[in-house]
């Protein structure tokens, strides 16, 4: 370990300050909201959304301008003693996705609260804004974190922000869902923490880039990684560890569900990705990747069927989330790379990243559309929604477009992602994965179709909303859905942008 101490593992880049801002800005907002009270909460939130978007854009611009990862060493204390923040291309893509979804969700939340001005300074709206900011901060911290323990704290921050979001409306079943979520997430966190302890015990550092250069001997490293990955799997709700997700994501208010389903479960996946690709020795990573892919495939098939069987719209979307998460895990064997080609140079890596982002956009759009529907009709029983497309054309369109992306129908980000994954499966000789991808697409088509069919139906008695829904409430969903579709226009080649700052990115060539 020690030879590395002589030569700093991280050299701060000028743009690194932006990473601190990305993490701390929402924290400042949380503190301000708490200090100034409910009357100011929403104004602070909207201002933070605007500034945060600007910061994200600045990070993106800086990354593109310099063509290398942004790095910051907090307090000037070099790892392993201190903590570094680092954003490579993939991280920045995550940051941008997060900012977009959070902003859209914020707009939806704002519009929804305007429907009922009497309670807009009440418990649920005020808590929502504070928690939303905390989620944002936690996500940013996770996407730029380099230190395993710092990531643990960020993960816990994320959990504590996400759990109260689930039970914001105060119904008993959402309390149960939140409690189940909290408990299982805690179990996951503790396993992760245990792994961290073991890693520190054998390497004396928690810095990811230092660990990636460490040579692993003996059983400690595999056991530690296994514990951490298993803990993160529990938080990512991969089948068969999805017990908490459907009730939690279906029970939460729509805007919260959108953030939870689109972003929150991506954070643990992102960390698994980093652990497998950056920390684990390549040989071990290959075997573990196979195992994760089996779970991912099971998740796709099993939970798609479950989504198909749901009577309630939000439960259906929630199960679909578990299924779609499965696609991310089948990336591991597909992006195994080779001597000349690192994993992040493969088309499967691009496909996986696109799947992650397009799912985030599409799923947020779906939940927001479902929120508008529930707002209009007071329920979300799919069978009783016949003809909702007439009253809520924008929501129906948003749902349909988002559905295209989930199904993998062109032109959409989901299509390009699945196309790339399928190609990787065919080239790499993984017929079962190819079959799974296709079957998942079919099942997704079926469950999306069930809803679209209801939207287009014209029942004898037209379905009248209980209150008028303003257009701006529906617009956020449409914007996200259109963004998911527009992603389909990105080039089919590996996204060079995603490889910025990855090790050896110079040797990465397009296949």
């Amino acid at each position: 370990m020690s030879p590395l101490a002589t030569e700093p593992a991280h050299v701060a880049t000028p743009g690194g300050v932006l990473l601190v801002l990305a993490v701390m800005l929402p924290v400042v907002a949380v503190l301000l909201m708490l200090a100034l009270g409910p009357r100011w909460t929403r104004r602070i939130a909207l201002a933070t959304l605007a500034i945060g978007l600007l910061v994200t854009i600045a990070i993106l611009a800086e990354l593109l301008r310099t063509g290398e990862a942004l790095t910051y060493v907090v307090g000037g204390w070099q790892p392993p003693l201190g903590i570094a923040l680092r954003a490579d291309g993939t991280s920045v893509a995550m940051l941008a996705m997060t900012a977009l979804v959070i902003a859209a969700t914020g707009c939806f939340g704002y519009a929804q609260q305007q429907l009922d001005p009497a309670t807009s300074h009440g418990r649920a709206p005020t808590s929502f804004w504070i928690l939303l900011m905390a989620v944002w901060s936690a996500l940013n911290a996770i996407f730029v974190g380099e230190d395993l323990f710092n990531l643990y704290v960020a993960l816990e921050l994320l959990t504590f922000a996400a759990v109260p979001l689930v039970c914001l409306d105060g119904r008993a079943e959402t309390m149960a869902a939140a409690l189940r979520y909290l408990m299982f997430a805690l179990l996951g966190s503790l396993l992760y923490l245990l792994g961290t302890a073991l890693i520190y015990g054998s390497f004396g550092t928690l810095d990811i880039s230092l660990l990636s250069q460490a040579s692993a001997e003996g059983p400690v490293f595999p056991v530690a990684l296994a514990l951490m990955i298993a803990g993160l799997l529990a938080k990512a709700a991969l089948f068969p560890l999805h017990l908490w997700l459907p009730p939690a994501h279906a029970g939460a208010p729509a805007s919260a569900s959108a953030v939870l389903s689109a972003l929150v479960i991506k954070a643990p996946f992102f960390l698994i990705l980093r652990l497998v690709l950056d920390v684990a020795p390549p040989q071990s990573a290959a075997f573990a990747g196979q195992f994760l892919a089996v779970l991912g495939a099971a998740s796709i098939l099993f939970c798609s069927v479950m989504a198909l069987r749901q009577a309630r719209l939000k439960l259906m979307i929630a199960y679909s989330t578990v299924a779609q998460i499965g696609y991310l895990f089948i990336v591991f064997p597909l992006a195994s790379g080779s001597e000349t080609l690192p994993p992040w140079g493969t088309i499967a890596w691009t496909g996986g990243a696109l799947q992650l982002i397009s799912h985030a956009l599409a799923k947020a759009a779906m939940f927001l559309a479902a929120g508008a529907i529930a707002e209009a009709y007071g329920h979300d029983r799919i069978s009783d929604l016949g003809g909702f497309g007439r009253a809520l054309p924008i929501s129906a369109a948003a749902f349909g477009l988002a559905g295209l992306s989930l199904m993998g129908i062109p032109p959409s980000g989901g299509f390009v992602a699945k196309c790339l994954l399928l190609t990787a499966a065919v080239i790499g000789g993984h017929p079962w994965l190819a079959a799974t991808i296709l079957a998942g697409g079919l099942l997704a088509g079926s469950y999306v179709f069930r809803v679209v069919d209801r939207a287009l139906a014209t029942p004898a008695i037209p379905l009248a909303p209980r209150k008028p829904i303003p257009r701006r409430l529906e617009l956020a969903a449409l914007v996200l859905a259109v963004a998911a579709v527009l992603l389909g226009l990105v080039p089919l080649q590996p996204f060079a942008f995603l490889q910025i700052g990855r090790p050896d990115s110079l040797t990465a060539v397009a296949p």
């Binding site: 503190l31 009270g37 060493v73 907090v74 307090g75 392993p80 504590f160 105060g170 015990g201 003996g218």
Partner: protein
């Protein structure tokens, strides 16, 4: 001799933990857990971690125990839950847990020797912070970002707890004071707090150079505050109260502010200029102690149960 003591301590810890799995009632389990926490604090001193020992005793035995006992009292009228029925499932789980334990033990035994350590690095950097207690240096300088985020976690947990209040009561005050305050409790609440505050101030102050520090001090303060509220000597604060909220955020806000000032003074976020590092850190610690005390106290007090006065 000391090995014998260690072995006895470990045996007690394991016995209490096993008792928690098998105790009939939750209260018995919680009492066992409080004893467990105190013993664990003793255990931490055996492995030369005095700061942790103080924290563990204050938290594991103290505040967590109080929280759990209050919850148990709240849930008194329920049907007993108990372990799940399936014997086979339990047996399988037991086997799995034993395997996990054995695996972990093997890993613990397989740690590399000599052990990797950052102690020399921490010691070498200590002069730059002006501190004498390396744990405080890690918490407030080397890994200050962790500590800062952890404070946000604490505040967020509080916001989560508050958000659980029924809509009508939100912004109101939690209820700690029992219907009838026992005479001795009131007496204790008058006697103890001056000592407690003294100890807290002392702990916070020496934390820079000796075991102790902001979190331990904050916990003691919180305990004193809770005691006073329990005895009905001071009313429970309304969660909407401005002063309360300012106290809550004072520490983290100062932390963040000094962190950002670091850009101007020392060329980076959360870096302290070497000459005034120690006063800055002690200042942050003092503010944090207040905030932590308020946060911990309110976390134990729970969500609002009385409607706002206004």
């Amino acid at each position: 001799m000391s090995l014998l003591l260690d072995l006895a301590l470990v045996a007690w810890l394991l016995a209490l933990a096993l008792y928690v799995t098998s105790a009939r009632g939750d209260r018995d389990a919680i009492v066992a857990f409080i004893a467990f926490g105190l013993l664990l604090g003793l255990g931490w001193t055996r492995i030369a971690a005095l700061d942790v020992a103080l924290t563990e005793a204050a938290i594991g035995g103290g505040v967590t125990g109080m929280l759990l006992l209050r919850a148990e009292a709240h849930l008194r009228k329920r049907k007993p839950g108990g372990p799940s029925k399936g014997v086979v499932g339990k047996a399988v789980t037991a086997v799995a847990c034993v395997m996990v334990t054995v695996g972990l033990m093997l890993v613990v035994l397989a740690f590399p020797s000599p052990a990797p350590t950052l102690a020399p690095a921490a010691a070498a950097a200590l002069p730059a912070t002006g501190l004498g207690n390396p744990v405080t240096a890690v918490l407030l300088a080397y890994r200050a970002l962790d500590t800062l985020l952890e404070k946000v976690v604490l505040i967020l947990a509080l916001i989560g707890v508050w958000s659980l209040a029924p809509d009508g009561l939100w912004g109101g005050a939690p209820r700690l004071r029992p219907a009838l305050v026992p005479e001795p409790l009131a007496y204790l609440a008058q006697m103890l707090p001056p000592f407690g505050v003294l100890i807290a101030v002392y702990m916070c102050w020496v934390g820079a150079d000796a075991p102790g520090g902001t979190f331990q001090a904050g916990t003691v303060l919180a305990a004193m505050w809770l005691l006073v509220m329990l005895a009905g000597l001071s009313p429970e604060p309304e969660t909407r109260g401005k002063a309360l909220r300012l106290t809550l955020i004072a520490g983290p806000a100062l932390f963040v502010a000094i962190g950002f000032l670091g850009f101007a003074m020392a060329g980076g976020f959360l870096s302290y200029p070497e000459s005034i590092a120690k006063p800055l850190i002690v200042g942050i610690e003092a503010a944090l102690t207040l905030s932590i005390a308020a946060t911990l106290g309110l976390l134990v007090a729970g969500p609002a149960q009385m409607a706002s006065g206004r």
